[in-house]
């Protein structure tokens, strides 16, 4: 069996990327079947792969869903952008985007690339600058972690706020409902001489 050339593999991979949707803002309880069923309404799902995040506090729970055709993928992304799809819970909607190559962990090699690396001599003129870059990179990583935490804090705030709103609304409805069932409403209506619509 002939092995496909590296180019072909790469091209196939690129095509796969185009067919794949990146979905995040998923709840941790979403499983592969749930996701599959959710998106099967809009097209044919060939594969679902969750993107693992290994470190706290990165809370981004995302998945790559591969669809049958590029068109299906694009349509779904558009639909999800226009309206809000909710999976396994509400009201936080999921977010869909086009998948990018870096999101896959099984990328084939670009074979024509040569990887060159060397150890820089400490007496090189740019050694200091290079060290600065290294420190900067580490700093960035820390900053990313911090930003992630901030984001989580925001999400938490919104969640709590919405929870309050929801509870308040719920109480209101309950109140009205209660009043209806136990007859107070009818009573009051009679008192005030207003008509109560029959439903």
């Amino acid at each position: 069996m002939e092995e496909p050339s590296a180019d072909e593999i790469y091209a196939a991979f690129e095509e796969k990327v185009k067919r794949t949707i990146y979905i995040d803002n998923l709840s941790h309880q979403v499983t592969e079947t749930v996701l599959k069923n959710a998106l099967n309404q809009f097209g044919n799902v060939t594969k679902v792969q969750f993107i693992p995040t290994f470190f706290t506090p990165c809370n981004v729970y995302a998945a790559l869903v591969e669809m049958e055709s590029v068109k299906q993928a694009e349509e779904i992304i558009q639909d999800m952008g226009d309206s809000t799809l909710m999976i396994s819970g509400m009201p936080r909607p999921v977010r869909a985007q086009k998948a990018k190559m870096e999101m896959f962990d099984d990328r084939p090699k670009k074979h024509h690339k040569k990887i060159a690396c060397y150890w820089m001599d400490p007496s090189h003129q740019n050694f200091d600058a290079v060290n600065k870059i290294k420190n900067l990179t580490k700093k960035h990583a820390a900053e990313v972690a911090y930003l992630m935490e901030l984001q989580l804090a925001e999400e938490e705030m919104l969640h709590n706020q919405q929870s309050e709103t929801l509870k308040a609304n719920f109480k209101k409805y309950e109140l009205i409902d209660g009043v209806q069932t136990d007859g107070t409403l009818k009573h009051l209506a009679a008192r005030y001489g207003t008509q109560l619509d029959d439903y």
């Binding site: 896959f104 670009k110 990887i115 690396c117 870059i133 990179t137 580490k138 929870s163």
Partner: protein, 562 residues
């Protein structure tokens, strides 16, 4: 329909007997299940099925354990009837054999020796009844009809013939992955081979004499073994055993060849030769549990077994020993990962010849023998067939995991492994972390699982002190930065905000339950919709601030580069 019951089967190059314990797949990233094969049968279309009776991990039955203490590597055998006792699976759900030792003091159970205990992956002496959800201490009369498990769960070391590393393992029963550096037992000058079977010692005489190495060699058509040791005693032992002088496995460990003689590196080239699984008479030694092997019919007994042996050695010595199992073995590679690996090996070969290295390349020159191949799955071997998360956790626990912060996003994991190999002479397991929307678009991060803590430390200090410049051919060089791996999250402590539920049972009806577990688009006139809009707003904001953030970072880099 003719269905035949069998006693054993071979899968993935490994022979499994009835009542063997095995690891079973549990999704891609989950901790594997452990089960006992209680029935094997073959269908008319030649496919095989196994009935697997489960062992429960303590965390799986934590609700019913109460206050009882459990050992670190304790499992509970399932008893009773009903859901959760056992399942029927096809063979591809099996990962690899697992060594489960029965500690029960039941008199039907031969008590395990200390060595057996140390070698075990897991132990069990209690059962969990799936009907009554009770933890039972005593093994019933029949233990669910499996009296025969007693004779099998501890295959006697009497029947088993193998070499083992006889180094000091730390005493705790649960310490499966010994963290000791190899220097330790190297300097003890303990003979690496301790033969338990007199029969074998006879014909393995030479190997016993050998100091610390045993290598199974295989001369493939395309590769010749490199002589790894100065005293050249590598080649000796196996040629003695095999009359037709066809060594089977090429332990191609270029690391050893280039190593500057540090004991650490030397140790890594050691393979325990569990050669003795075939003795002179060529009689078959049955594979009982995971330690013993069944010698296949062909006279090249070593064929698959060396893989196992090596892998067992791996788990014992915790070194990553790479075997080139080309040629003879490719037909045993029926696990996809391994296919990928060998494919990758080929690619690596071609890549390696184009790698330019300066300064560190003492003798690397013709790097054409870097073959990496992980042996077939066996107990405890953190082979590439174990799910990545599992391996990561193990490495993290040992302190051997590194996070690389700025890998070129166009690399893939194999290339990263090569780079590390060439720069540091350390073999590693690399994985490029997948990007999500908050990842830095300019760079990728990669996780490196090195073999030992020392290796990780060495890599980190070197990266810190010096500057390893990498480029991808576009002439922009960036220094590689590595940090020790940050704490790994578990699913349990991640929070997710945004899903609200109603408390009142009243509002929950059948419909709503279903709705929550699936997906839907809310109608615009509902509260849901409004709340959802708020979340959309937050998501958009979030996307924007991450974008800005990464832009800033990019700018900072470019100012320095000027």
């Amino acid at each position: 329909m003719e269905v035949q019951l069998c006693d054993s089967f071979t899968y993935g190059g490994v022979k499994y007997m009835l009542y063997d314990s095995v690891y079973m797949y549990n999704g891609d990233l989950g901790e594997p299940h452990v089960g006992k094969l209680t029935k094997i049968w073959e269908l008319p279309d030649k496919t095989k099925k196994v009935e697997v009776r489960w062992f429960f991990r303590p965390e799986e039955i934590s609700n019913w354990l109460g206050d009882t203490k459990t050992l670190d590597n304790e499992l509970f055998f399932s008893t009773g009837e009903g859901l959760g006792l056992a399942n029927i699976n096809s063979l591809d759900a099996i990962i690899c054999p697992c060594n489960v030792v029965c500690l029960s003091e039941d008199n039907r159970n031969p008590q395990p020796s200390d060595e057996q205990l140390k070698a075990a992956d897991f132990v069990f002496y209690r059962t969990f009844d799936v009907q009554s959800y009770a933890v039972l201490d005593k093994l019933d009369d029949e233990v669910g009809g499996l009296e025969s498990i007693f004779t099998h769960s501890n295959f006697g070391f009497l029947n088993l013939v193998w070499f083992s590393f006889s180094f000091n393992r730390t005493p705790t029963g649960s310490d499966k992955f010994n963290d000791q550096p190899f220097k330790k037992f190297r300097s003890d000058k303990k003979p690496l081979v301790s033969v338990n079977n007199p029969k074998v010692s006879k014909f393995c005489g030479t190997t016993e004499d050998q100091k610390n190495r045993m290598v199974a060699e295989k001369v493939t058509s395309d590769k010749r073994l490199k002589k790894r040791r100065d005293d050249g005693s590598f080649d000796q032992p196996f040629k003695e055993f095999r009359p037709d002088k066809k060594p089977l496995i090429n332990v191609n460990n270029p690391k050893a060849s280039e190593s500057c003689g540090t004991t650490e590196n030397q140790m890594k080239s050691i393979v325990t030769a569990k050669v003795t699984s075939y003795d002179l008479e060529g009689s078959k030694l049955k594979k009982r549990d995971d330690g013993s092997f069944k010698v296949p019919d062909n006279k090249m007994g070593i064929n698959m077994n060396l893989r196992d042996m090596v892998a067992l050695a791996k788990e014992k010595s915790k070194s990553r020993i790479y075997l080139d199992i080309h040629g003879n073995k490719n037909d045993h590679n029926n696990k996809e990962d391994k296919e990928e690996e060998s494919g990758e090996c080929i690619k690596k070969l071609s890549m390696n010849t184009s790698l330019k290295l300066y300064a560190l390349s003492s003798g690397i020159g013709k790097k054409n023998a870097y073959q990496e191949f992980v042996v077939s799955p066996t107990p405890n071997a953190v082979s590439k067939n174990m799910p990545w998360e599992y391996r990561l956790r193990k490495a993290y626990d040992q302190g051997a995991a590194i996070l690389l912060l700025n890998v070129d996003p166009e690399y893939n994991s194999g290339e990263v492994e090569d780079i590390i190999w060439h720069a540091f002479k350390e073999k590693c397991d690399a994985k490029i972390l997948q990007h999500n929307l908050v990842s830095n678009p300019h760079y990728a991060q990669a996780l490196l699982l090195l073999e030992t803590k020392e290796a990780a430390h060495k890599v980190l200090t070197k990266l810190d002190k010096g500057c390893l410049m990498l480029s991808n051919g576009s002439q922009i060089f960036m220094p590689l930065v590595g940090t020790p791996c940050p704490p790994i999250s578990t699913k349990r402590n991640s929070k997710f905000f945004g899903h609200l539920t109603f408390d009142k049972a009243r509002f929950k009806n059948q419909h709503e339950d279903e709705a929550v577990s699936t997906s839907h688009y809310p109608q615009p006139n509902t509260i849901e919709y409004d709340l959802a809009m708020e979340w959309c707003l937050l998501q958009l904001k979030s996307a924007i601030w991450w974008e800005k953030f990464h832009e800033e970072k990019g700018k900072q880099y470019s100012t320095i580069l000027r």
